[in-house]
């Protein structure tokens, strides 16, 4: 694998949608993959099967990343089964939409916990072995909503904007150890999370279509590859021109 150290990749929230596509893309690039899921064990097992049928290696890892204990548990299991974690993709994300006067504390907190705090804890756990290995790739799945206003998503937007700031800061901290930290900001992508979102939005997309999970996964695959060794601290927007 181009002289990179032996190791594995962890993708959170990988039982479906963008996470599942990312797991597949990394496996195609030769990474053994830990497919994390919270509840959808069937989806996760299907992702694992697709990878192993194609000759790759993968295991399903149950864990709710919003629980502070989960980071250590996931890493320990993946390290034991597939080797040191050299690629971390913080993809797990939830929405709890509403206009700000109507977002209650619970809906605020759970979005921040899953989308931002979990990414921090998993990154913290990943960094120390990556620093020792002189190799690491952290890719955080953000969103264009973190950059441009979208009424009804103050909690989601705050979590994603925070994720980008976390990305840049950590990138600057660890760059000299060969660890890159980047974000990918998808626009409107065809997944369960965007089902039911008004069709009018497509009129504003210059490409006149939603993107696919595979198109987002390809960006993550690139950032996790040897080819992107000098790319760090960036947010790669993949939105068909929506925020251009």
């Amino acid at each position: 694998m181009n002289g990179r150290p032996e190791g594995s990749a962890l993708v959170t929230g990988a039982s479906r949608g963008i996470g599942a596509a990312i797991a597949g893309a990394l496996a195609n690039d030769g990474w053994p993959v830990g497919v994390n899921y919270r509840q959808d064990s069937e989806g996760a097992e299907a992702v694992v099967k697709q990878i192993t049928d194609a000759g790759g290696r993968a295991i399903a890892l149950q864990g709710d990343v919003s629980d502070p204990e989960t980071a250590d548990q996931l890493f320990k299991r993946l390290e034991d089964e597939l080797g040191p974690v050299l690629v971390l993709v913080n993809n797990a994300g939830v929405r709890a939409d509403g206009l700000s006067p109507q977002i209650d504390d619970e809906d605020w907190q759970k979005v921040i916990d899953t989308n931002l705090s979990a990414a921090f804890r998993l990154t913290r756990r990943a960094l120390r072995p990556m620093i020792r290995a002189r190799y690491g790739r952290v890719v955080n799945i953000a969103s264009i909503v973190g950059q441009r206003a979208n009424p009804g998503q103050a909690n989601y937007a705050a979590s994603k904007a925070g994720l980008v700031a976390l990305t840049k800061t950590v990138a600057a901290e660890v760059a000299k150890r060969g660890v890159t930290v980047n974000a990918v900001a998808p626009g409107l992508i065809e997944t369960e999370m965007t089902e039911g979102i008004g069709g009018n939005l497509l009129e504003h997309v210059p490409a006149r279509r939603a993107g696919t999970p595979e198109e987002v996964a390809e960006c993550v695959r690139f950032l996790a590859s040897d080819g992107a060794t000098y790319v760090t601290g960036v947010c790669l927007t993949v939105d068909g021109g929506l925020t251009a």
């Binding site: 120390r128 620093i131 020792r132 901290e173 660890v174 000299k176 150890r177």
Partner: protein, 82 residues
């Protein structure tokens, strides 16, 4: 993981780590200052990881505050040996 590491063993391990971090061998010594060897805070984070892996000693951020020389670092590790 050593069960009873000696001060000298720990000091040697620290010297080895400093060399890995790029410090010039002739600058490394028991009273060397980290700043003079271009050893920065990220290097010290890694040193804490090495110390944890090899000796089971956990060094938190606040423990490392004010540690500016090899001697202080080794003393700190020795003081926390299980």
């Amino acid at each position: 993981m050593s069960t009873t590491a000696t001060r000298q063993e720990i000091e040697q391990r620290v010297f080895q780590a400093l060399e890995e971090f790029g410090a010039e061998p002739d600058q490394i010594g028991p009273d060397a200052e980290f700043e003079a060897m271009d050893v920065d805070s990220l290097d010290l984070v890694e040193l804490a990881q090495i110390v944890e892996d090899d000796y089971g000693v956990q060094l938190k951020g606040e423990d490392m505050e004010g540690i500016t020389t090899v001697r202080q670092a080794v003393d700190l590790v020795v003081s926390k040996l299980p």
